[in-house]
Point group: C2
Chain length 896, copies 2
Amino acid sequence: MAQKWVYAFEEGDATMRNLLGGKGCNLAEMTRIGLPVPPGFTVTTEACIAYMNTGKFPEGMWEEVLAHVDALNKKTGKEFANDANPLLVSIRSGARESMPGMMDTILNVGLTPGAVETMGKKFNDMRFAWDLYRRLIQMYSKVVLDVPGEEFEEIIDEERARIGAESDAQMTAEGWRRCADRFMKLAEKHTGKPFPQDPYKQLELGIEAVFKSWNGKRAVDYRNHYGYPHTWGTAANIVTMVYGNIADGVSGTGVAFTRNPATGEKKFYGEYLLNAQGEDVVSGARTPTEVSGLAKEIPQAWDDLMEVARILEEHYRETQDIEFTIESGKLWMLQTRSGKRTAASAVKIAVDMVDEGLITPAEAVARISPDMIDQMLHPRFDEEVLKKTTPLAKGLNASPGAAVGKVYFDADTAEAKSKEGEPVILVRPLTEPSDVHGMLAAKGILTAEGGATSHAAVVARQLGKPCVAGCADIKINLEKKFFSVNQTVVKEGDYISLNGAKGTVYVGQLPVVAPKLEEQTELLKILGWADEIRRLMVWANADDEQQAARARSYGAQGIGLCRTEHMFLGERTQLFQNYILAADPDTKQKALDKLAELQHDDFYGIFRAMDGLPVIIRLIDPPLHEFLPARDELKVDVALGHERGEDVSEKEFLLHKAEELAEFNPMLGLRGIRLGIMMPDVTLMQVHAIISAACDAAKDGYDVHPEIMIPLTAHINELKLLQTVLEDEARKVMAAKGVAVDYKFGTMIEIPRAAITAREIAGLAQFFSFGTNDLTQMTYGISRDDAERHFLLQYVEKGILPKNPFQTIDRDGVGALMKMAVADGRATRPDLEVGICGEHGGDPDSIDFCHLIGLNYVSCSPFRVPVARLAAAHAALREKGWERLGELGVRDPHRK
Amino acid sequence: MAQKWVYAFEEGDATMRNLLGGKGCNLAEMTRIGLPVPPGFTVTTEACIAYMNTGKFPEGMWEEVLAHVDALNKKTGKEFANDANPLLVSIRSGARESMPGMMDTILNVGLTPGAVETMGKKFNDMRFAWDLYRRLIQMYSKVVLDVPGEEFEEIIDEERARIGAESDAQMTAEGWRRCADRFMKLAEKHTGKPFPQDPYKQLELGIEAVFKSWNGKRAVDYRNHYGYPHTWGTAANIVTMVYGNIADGVSGTGVAFTRNPATGEKKFYGEYLLNAQGEDVVSGARTPTEVSGLAKEIPQAWDDLMEVARILEEHYRETQDIEFTIESGKLWMLQTRSGKRTAASAVKIAVDMVDEGLITPAEAVARISPDMIDQMLHPRFDEEVLKKTTPLAKGLNASPGAAVGKVYFDADTAEAKSKEGEPVILVRPLTEPSDVHGMLAAKGILTAEGGATSHAAVVARQLGKPCVAGCADIKINLEKKFFSVNQTVVKEGDYISLNGAKGTVYVGQLPVVAPKLEEQTELLKILGWADEIRRLMVWANADDEQQAARARSYGAQGIGLCRTEHMFLGERTQLFQNYILAADPDTKQKALDKLAELQHDDFYGIFRAMDGLPVIIRLIDPPLHEFLPARDELKVDVALGHERGEDVSEKEFLLHKAEELAEFNPMLGLRGIRLGIMMPDVTLMQVHAIISAACDAAKDGYDVHPEIMIPLTAHINELKLLQTVLEDEARKVMAAKGVAVDYKFGTMIEIPRAAITAREIAGLAQFFSFGTNDLTQMTYGISRDDAERHFLLQYVEKGILPKNPFQTIDRDGVGALMKMAVADGRATRPDLEVGICGEHGGDPDSIDFCHLIGLNYVSCSPFRVPVARLAAAHAALREKGWERLGELGVRDPHRK
């Protein structure tokens, strides 16, 4: 059977998202459940892909389109390409995932001068008819014929001036007719051909243009940013035109959310314009009215809209973002989709919907992305300071959050400055899709125009960036690069602060504070449900009591990595240098004894904070030369000292030591367990401090679970040797203290050989902890300190590597070793405790992998613990199959 | 059934080596085939192990010993512990492998004062009888009672002086009696107990002492050195005494080889002493007589001995090292074993025995160890001269061979002087890649630092040049150009001689002799047989035509690694620096064009030398900063220049570039394929040179098989990218030349991830070549440049690592990855060509592993090719089972 390229709305449903695109499948779904959708049909994404591959429509597609146009004629009682009873349509793009504003739409296709006359007569409104026509020519010329948009705006301005119209609303029929006329000439001038008056030609070229827009620069950039495949393609939706721009007082158009997308409040939220087509609302050219105004203006349509909203939420069990048009009092639905929203509103909506019985807790958890938690816990302005500070200006609270940065007025400069490390605020009259790279680079966005659903607002919310939109107080001078509010002038490079939650703008830099998890009750509910779902434990990396306490308050179930060498920094560096540099054992031992005391207290504090929970303490890892001054600087100092005749004996001694300890490849050098074997006294000191602190804490009533971790094991014999030394010391300490504490002995798996020989190593080690940072360096043969500077980022940019393997675990390479090590280790020791303590432990995709290969826990930085709790729950849901969550046309939203 | 701990000689045979030890099993074997062996029995190695574990004889062992003593009484007609007709025995140690002199033997056990009288009367020789007795007390006291040996020698000296005897031979019966008396008192003084006169007590303690000697310091050290397990244990052989020290003119004792162990000549070879016990010959106290003298002295015994020798060689099909005693004209055999021999004699004997029909060619091949070939092919110093000369210093025997030359302290001067025709020895603290031109020019290399796998050692072995590394005795003064050892000063231009095989350094010129492979007809025969046996091909690493030709003459079947960056050294470094430093593309391209010309000629030469054979050429591998001056030196120069007010702009520019290229861990940095991707022009230049040279050589009638190898691949996408670039260039060159050459495209497998993802990589790569050097560094997390200095050698010494993984492939770790990569690669591409080009390619144990996992070839330095040919044959024989070779009690002699 030949492939089917076109589906009438009656033929599709919400599960056909991949084939019909998001817009198309939802128009079909709404049609299916009886909501008022103008008749139409969808040309599939597969047709688009075929077109992109061959440069022409696939065989049979155009014939199907023609058949569906015929069907439309029948359904509507009008006729396409018949000036006496014209059927007009829009052509709307729509890919699998929403890509707002990235692709093209053309309205009023099928209009010709003859049809204009008919329409004018039918609606008794020639101004409306000519307006439709000039809109067709304007959009079509821009989208299909590539005529620059500004030239149309100039013509409109001239024609408005001619008749003294202050706005488009004051334009006359004649004015729009003249515009249409001049537009056609303009198009002909640019293309060398007359504007196509054949409706079928318009339709054909229009569908082609929509297909082509899939590979337009904006769309490609957008997909690159979000990691969407370029092979999806877009569908083209052909929809019977309905008109919100008839001047009968009961026509209009609007966009709305079934709940507030900024706060999550359960209140219909949106805007509308009377006498307008959809683009008028979205473009921000006219300032729209709050949607509830419709209740008075067109009460029947308002009631219908409320009913539709109720049905949609119950049907989709999700808050919806809708577009509607009211034509002469009759409501038409032009789009519905899941409403984009802020992190806070997403959490509130999810929790509310569980309370309302619309969704299950698991569905609520599934709907929150790890990014959202990150956003909610991100710093915001200090409330006390806000109270005392007067805003410079106020606009719409388009996207919440606190942003502090320097003002830049165009996307390119914003991007460039951001790359130089400056915090940037992008300030624009309005944003457009071509500004997205500047928005990506910015800490926050401020626009003078546009509403809560303007491009700036929508994209900012999606990016999780603070945005104040439609801030009419500010007067922007793009040329001279400043903006002013009354007498205050803010120049390029000046600092401002944006409070996205309130829509306020401040001069200068306001102090920010981190929000407290314990105050975010809805988020705590989500995390609580996540905890019930997940199988992976979440532990944290913490090097002192304060960090440990914070981690615990964020839900950490243990400490997966306490780096003891961090305890040698600061004031203690000198002590450790004394140890390294001393020639006589006495001085060495004295330095160690003092360090042992200090470390004892460090450990005691951590055990206290983690009362009842496991604490993994890693013995010293870095090479000793890290604790000495840099060798090349010493060399220069010594050479200069000689030249100047100064006494450099001390420097020379340091240099000598530094040379002795220097390594060509320190990453692969004398560190970790190798240090422990070559210099057992440091290891002994550390074990002494750990066990004695544990004994003391146990005596004081704390429930201690120390786990001693050896870094950098490559061969079982290393572990064997060190374990003997270490257990002897532990026994001695416990005997001296008169307390026994139950401790574990284990190792990091961070050298490929350790992973390969896990079967043997698990014979001695009671636990494994993957150090995926080093494991990635060695498995991939990449020095992280060097590679990002020299080639790694370019590799990722060029697509040579799908992802930066230091951010997300390389499943095929490093992951294969991990998987092998877990299986082999547990073959020897079925109850082997296995976790991960590298940075990957806080990365959702890596957490998913850790879940899949059966780790016991991931350990991440304290601030990432809530993110990891959620990601671990997602991993469990994903493994079972998101489909089982029972959502309509459900996809895995958190995996790219 | 209870375990059997004791075997009469009649009960054993040569295959029971592990249970009875080497001596025991061969005494049994000789007994079995009817040769004259004094009756006796063997207490097993298992009894020894049981004794070591528990500190006492295992249950039932002593009873078995007693039963076998009774049997001996019957066989000999004498009676143990009966003074009237005493049976005396010796107790002799004997482990699985010969450990000459490492363990203990006690003679004349069972003797008492009463028995002495009987013996004296029986042989009519009281001097003989008392001599036996004093020997028993002396040996027994030393071995069993731990009395210091010197004190006995002092007593003998005193007693000799008393009667004016100049030697032991002049001692009287009374003298020996007095000695025996004083010896007993000495023993009693030391032990507080009278010397045991109960023969059974003597026997019991004697067996215990032999068992204990297994764990004596000497024996333990010996086993550590040779890598023998400490768990083998030794057997104890109880042998009826026969006497070579009866003063009847027809008694004596001797040791002999059935063929000459130094030359291999088929001539009975050995020494004897009349009127002596075995220890007298071995100890060297009396000067023995050449064995053929027996033919006149005791003709019948000589004839018997010749017959025994013939039988033994025919039976064992191997040259034998024997011990015999003649008691009153009757020949007794006390030991036989395979004769240790020099490399040259081993080869000659093996070939002769094939000619004689005694053994098969496969057995001959099996008998030659790889070390022997190495010894035979390296130039060496005259042994006679060495014996008489004291070394100046001693370091590591990093690369064998003899080198004589004048000392130079930097590579440039070394090269210059060599060009002037001087023989040069390069002396450096350490060598680096930038010294290679000096090493190439030198006859030998001496370094003060660095281990057996330091740069100097590795490159020297590769070049087949003698090298003494890590010679800490020498203090080098680079500035003043001399080195000193204590008071001796060696200045630039002075002659020294290096003995690489021993790691010794001599002042002046020692005479050398250089063997030539083509002149060693017997060795060529062995290698020819080896070639017929082996499955692995042997290729060589060669960087120029001369090396390639040499490799071919040594039997190489291809070039497995041609390192193109070696072609950037010497005079060409400046050209490549021009490329690196130039800012404008023109200058860069000019430098590359010139290099392309030079490389073309290099490749042409190699193709010519390898006419008909494959040549793998690796594209540039090392990081660029290796071609610039060292960064820290530049830093010092710039700082000093500033201080002095000099113009340092040029140095600053170099420093700037060096900083830009600097890496923390260059081993894991921007090199190999990463360079090829980030700077494709160098790659293009190289591919251009390779393909154009191949085309030109093909036009000139050579049969060329170039294989282009990409180093450091980690991800399939890297290869994909480079392959496209490279194949385009190759196509272009071939089109321009009008010739098509068949080339292969492949990659090194030297990053763990490449091995792990071999299945994918083999989809693109037509061949794999394991770079086990880097693969070991990354899999093991060990930087070779650093580790030997800091911990690796100590690790091997302490037994933490069984072997240095850079010398012998770590089968459990690195080897596991290799095995996986071979299997996975061939799953994708069944005809995938897989080889190894790291240094391991010349290591016999690693070659064995390469054979087992199914590699196609090993590639090693030209000088190692004969060794590898033999080792590859051994691998094939080992896989089939050495036992099938049909040798008696055969063991795998070449594997530890």
